[in-house]
Symmetry: C2
Subunit: 232 residues, 2 copies
């Protein structure tokens, strides 16, 4: 029975891949990676190339192109096409690893593919391989305990509305804001209001070349891979 | 300069350790693991033994014993003693890996040790090595996306009071309750009130021998390593 692996390669440092993910990458004949203008998505394949070395030449690597759009119809069409490509491999009995930066259960597009494939190739085995998240990697770089004892952690998107975000930061011991990007000035205002500016750390490209860690200095500093940690 | 590594071995499956953690375990002369009646803590050393194989015999392994108490004075005393032992190794120029089950930034005792050692051996380098959390591992086993798109995730302890927990579950797309244990009946009542019983999955010993995944059937099912996932 062919297997589709939803395989996390970790947050960026190739050494933060798991033994299990590396073993599966060595075994599967087909490696599929999404590719779009969002940088995170092509980084996954770069990590695969680095950990496999020359052995990657023996694999069929498939890059799936997705439009950078929020138009559901265009996106759904792109996903159906991608799922069709992957289904073709599975039906020919070939195991496929769909690779994602970070952890596949954590803000990955993998589950869009999975849902489609459960319909297309119901006989395939679907195995999700967990990985280190960017949140853990960033906290580790800062030697910062996200949560201890009975503390609580919230993870939210930068797109969250300011009033809701304010309540979250008030209620939780630690709040991590992902996908900061253009929302940074608004987030900083909320933190200033709460008197928590000094407790916030902005991490951009954590564990990747060009890493920046420190106080969120102002607008223009954050990108799609930036995250903000507020530990009280 | 000697280095203290706060090293996560992942959620339980030895294959879910990272390449980086394995490399460091092979290099360091001293491996320190906390040991108490809480099972999670001795599991970390078991995983080390499994991934290192016979090479573990060349290491000095130190088990630190902590009393199972909430008495701050007794705990602080135990931590000071443990830190003294680790400091002794670092002062003799020997690198030390303090191993934790799961990720060290995520509900680990490692940072209690770190704080003490920064005082005792300020010249030592402190490096935290992130790992796969039990939360990611459990979601992966269930093929469940914790969060997608702009969704939000809350992680709370089972000790959280019912009213606060209720608000969290209402406000977040996904809530994970850790350290469920004896709090399960109370948690189930809250879920029943919210009509979310069917959306909850209880995971006990996820990825470990004796794993149980499924609907939270009733009292007595959960232990210290159980977690409850509520995805709306």
């Amino acid at each position: 029975m062919p297997t589709l692996y939803g395989l996390g390669v970790g947050p960026g440092d190739p050494e933060l891949i798991t033994l299990k993910a590396l073993k599966i990458l060595k075994e599967v004949p087909v490696i599929v990676a999404p590719k779009s203008r969002q940088e995170g998505e092509s980084l996954a394949l770069e990590i695969v190339v680095r950990v496999l070395g020359p052995a990657v030449a023996d694999k069929e690597t498939v890059e799936l192109h997705f439009p950078m759009t929020r138009d559901p119809a265009r996106l759904a069409g792109a996903w159906r096409e991608a799922a069709g490509t992957v289904a073709g491999h599975l039906r020919r009995g070939r195991d496929v690893a769909f690779v994602t930066l970070g952890d596949p259960t954590f803000y990955s597009t993998y589950f869009l593919l999975l849902e489609e494939l459960i319909r297309l190739v119901p006989e395939a085995r679907m195995v999700t391989v967990p990985a280190v998240t960017s949140v853990s990697a960033c906290a580790a770089r800062l030697n910062l305990p996200l949560v201890q004892g009975d503390e609580s952690l919230a993870v939210v998107s930068g797109a969250r509305d300011p009033e809701a975000l304010r309540r979250v930061i008030e209620d939780f011991d630690c709040t991590v804001v992902l996908k900061v990007g253009r929302h940074l000035p608004r987030l900083m205002e909320t933190l200033k209001d709460l008197g928590l500016e000094e407790r916030a750390v902005l991490a951009t490209r954590c564990g990747l070349p060009g890493e920046r860690l420190g106080s969120p200095a102002g607008p223009g500093e954050a990108d799609y891979l930036s995250l903000l940690v507020v530990k009280k």
